[in-house]
Symmetry: C2
Subunit: 163 residues, 2 copies
């Protein structure tokens, strides 16, 4: 992307996440890895992406610690690391959102566990299990918040209260 702004510099976990996986190909490659693809050619054929682009993405994903190169250096497997596997909830949440709102509700892909039990829709809850919604969710500065973040969240909370 014509990325003039460096997202990873922002004091925001979401921005940092997007700096890693915030472009089309990257998450689709990760998806294929969850499906079991490990080879350059497997990703290439599945996605129809140009080789040089795929090279860049794979390198980026390795650098980011999402993939690990394994096996023969000339014919490596790209394997999801723990960090990469940790993307599953986000990936499924996005897939389900696409199913629900962008398809005709006939999902091209069913997600189950190995026994065939269907996946539940990914939901956000509090620790006690109460559902989080746009209405009841609150964002407050955490320990890692810098001055700017802190100020912004205070401002937002104030504005929201004023409405």
């Amino acid at each position: 992307m014509a990325q003039k702004t460096d997202l990873s510099k922002l004091n925001c976990s979401l921005a940092k996440a997007l700096a890693n996986i915030g472009d089309w190909w990257t998450l689709l490659i990760v998806r294929d890895a969850f499906l079991g693809a490990t080879r350059f050619s497997e990703f290439q054929q599945s996605l129809g992406v140009a080789r040089n682009i795929l090279t860049t993405r794979l390198q980026g994903l390795v650098d980011a610690g999402i993939f690990e190169r394994q096996g023969s250096p000339t014919r490596p497997h790209y394997i999801l690391t723990k960090k990469g596997k940790a993307l599953l909830p986000a990936l499924l949440a996005l897939m389900q959102w696409g199913d629900e709102w962008e398809s005709e509700r006939r999902p091209p892909m069913l997600v189950t566990d190995e026994t065939g039990e269907a996946a539940q829709t990914v939901v956000a809850t509090t620790r006690s299990g109460k559902p989080l919604t746009a209405a009841n969710t609150r964002f407050t500065p955490g320990p890692g918040a810098n001055k700017r973040t802190r100020a912004y969240l205070m401002l937002r909370a104030a504005r929201k209260a004023a409405n």
Copy 2:
């Protein structure tokens, strides 16, 4: 982005989702909306994005049905629709992934409900509540799968079994 490939054409819910929100700014705008921002200027100042870019993104989000323009046409509010609000789990999952793997574990932002109860980490489970992991998750063709998707998933399953 220099998007030569039209993701929305792919028979894949994830690709369709990414076609909507698959670039840096878009999801950050949505995040700000969850924080309570509604004005052009609020988004603009918060993100530091160029005006023309913001215009494009907001229009895109309105076209996608994620935002709705409300109030005075000359001074509108951009409000999350149901479809937009449905992005919360995906958004939180990405934020939490960024917290966990890209920050120094000092979250810049805490997520709670209105009573102050902390959010749980977004997880993927089966309907009975069993956790889904990269290891036990299976992907099979759904009713909306076309020939290509079907063939690909079969291939992947076969390859995976062969490993």
